[in-house]
Amino acid sequence: MVNGLAWRLMPGDPDVEDLVQDCFVLALDSLHRLAEPAAFSSWLGSIVVRQAHKRLRRKRLRIRLGMLRPQPIDPETLIGASAPPDVAAELRAVYTILDGLPPEERIALVLRRVEGLPLAEVAERMNLSLATVKRRLSAAEASLTRALGLGSAGSESP
């Protein structure tokens, strides 16, 4: 789960391995603070999101300062061969625009469109209010709509 989520948030990034290890160490060190065992998956997902956010922000700053060359994501290397054509097209669009999005929009889009989480859970994982998540998603979805060549944004379900 951690490997998969980290990869989908930062596909092809050489930092993914360190990110995964960080998340497990943090989780194991703070397991005693988990009040509800049933919430383990969501709690662990929050850790991954938080750590990925830090790394994405740092990477974006370095690229803007000219200290790092951007390495575009190649969606064709990410999407499994068994993906139905419509799913593959949407995933292709998501990962084409991902690097151009600010970190919070990027994470919100992946959690919503790829992980398939409800808005409330996206907000919980990102430790943001529902209103803020909706704003982030709205901006990201606008970029996605343009990439998909659609006339209007996709519908949202709670």
Binding site: G4, W7, R8, V20, Q21, L28, M67, G80, A83, V87
Partner: protein
């Protein structure tokens, strides 16, 4: 209905055989490291042992190091502190600290209750002086006399210039009858100029204060001397970035180094130092050469995340150059400041025997 969960199954991370097992081993190894409190205890014990050893070492006329070991020193006139091919940190009995960059040579001329006086013969030394209003702390660099009461400052001397930079507190710089008081963030320099037909042996000095927008002055002076010749910091920085983007890494490194040399107080120094450190590590395979710039970037890079990067790379540079004591010290410093830092899992694996 959003069926995104099925989309996740189409974007899975490729894992080589045995990768997960290696991952768990790495996680277990990291969690097996002793707690940071224990590290402090170990370092504290080492410091006590070092002081005991130094009671013997101070009998030697010269104390230097090529291994980057940290030393506490009992001063007496004539003691010479010299950093060889590695930086040298020294702790004085009153708690003051002196950090000599590689190649620096500092001679203790006076060590009394009312006055401590050093002579910087060459190179660069940073002083973190414990506050004591009853004691004068002086550093002489040629005919330049730097006096402080509880502050942190750096004095750099080479064949052509003396530069005094203040990080904290107030420093008096005297030269003959001239006296300047520098505050935190200010620097003063004295450069030797080539003899000219108009003024043979002319010297110039300049007082610099970083601009409010962090751009940094480029040769602004107080006493009417001219700007230093050569490209501006902005020009050097842009050329270096262009070279970097084009993949001309060696050229980029040279340009960053020139920026640091010509414009040591410019606001771009932090980024330039970090980039130079990274280039020397990754492209030029010169970890020893990366240490100086990375140390600089650790304190002057803009933003906490870049300073964190610099500190992590500094640990790597010490490790790669075999300076174990420095490596452990810088690792502890990083983990103390960034316990959940993005580089923590890599840093904690460094400096192992």
């Amino acid at each position: 209905m959003n069926d995104g969960s099925s989309r996740a199954q189409y974007v899975e991370r490729p894992m080589a055989e045995g990768a997960q097992q290696r991952q768990w081993l790495a996680i277990a190894a990291r969690r097996a490291q002793p707690a940071r409190g224990a590290w402090r205890w170990v370092f504290g014990s080492l410091a006590i042992a070092a002081v005991a050893i130094l009671a013997v070492v101070t009998a030697m006329p010269q104390l230097g190091s090529d291994t980057g070991e940290i030393a506490a020193v009992e001063l007496s006139p004539g003691v010479v502190l010299e950093a060889g091919e590695a930086d040298l940190d020294v702790r004085l009995p009153d708690g003051s600290q002196v950090a000599l960059q590689e190649g620096a040579r500092l001679v203790a001329e006076r060590a009394e209750a009312q006055e401590v006086r050093f002579s910087l013969r060459r190179g660069s030394a940073r002083f973190d002086v414990a506050r004591d209003p009853t004691r004068t702390f002086r550093v002489l660099a040629g005919d330049v006399d730097v006096r402080v009461i509880g502050t942190r400052f750096e004095v750099r001397r080479d064949a052509s210039a003396v530069v005094v930079s203040v990080e904290r507190g107030i420093v008096e710089v005297r030269r003959g009858d001239e006296l300047r008081r520098l505050q935190a963030g200010q620097s003063w320099s004295l450069t030797e100029r080539e003899p000219s037909a108009e003024s043979e042996g002319a010297q110039s000095d300049a007082l610099e204060t970083p601009g409010e927008d962090g751009e940094g002055l480029e040769g602004q002076s107080v006493t009417g001397s001219t700007r230093p010749a050569g490209p501006s910091a902005r020009a050097l920085f842009e050329e270096a970035r262009e070279a970097r983007r084009a993949g001309r890494d060696r050229e980029a490194a040279d340009l960053y180094a020139e920026l640091l040399r010509r414009h040591p107080r410019d606001g771009r120094v932090g980024i330039a130092a970090l980039e130079l450190g990274r280039l020397r590590m990754d492209v030029l395979h010169d970890p020893q050469g990366a240490i100086g710039p990375l140390r600089r970037a650790s304190s002057s890079a803009p933003g906490e995340s870049l300073r964190e990067d610099a500190m992590a790379r500094l640990v790597e540079a010490y490790d790669a150059s075999g300076q174990r004591a420095r490596c452990r010290e810088s690792r502890a410093r990083y983990l103390d400041r960034f316990p959940e830092g993005v580089h923590a899992s890599a840093v904690v694996r460094r400096c192992l025997p």
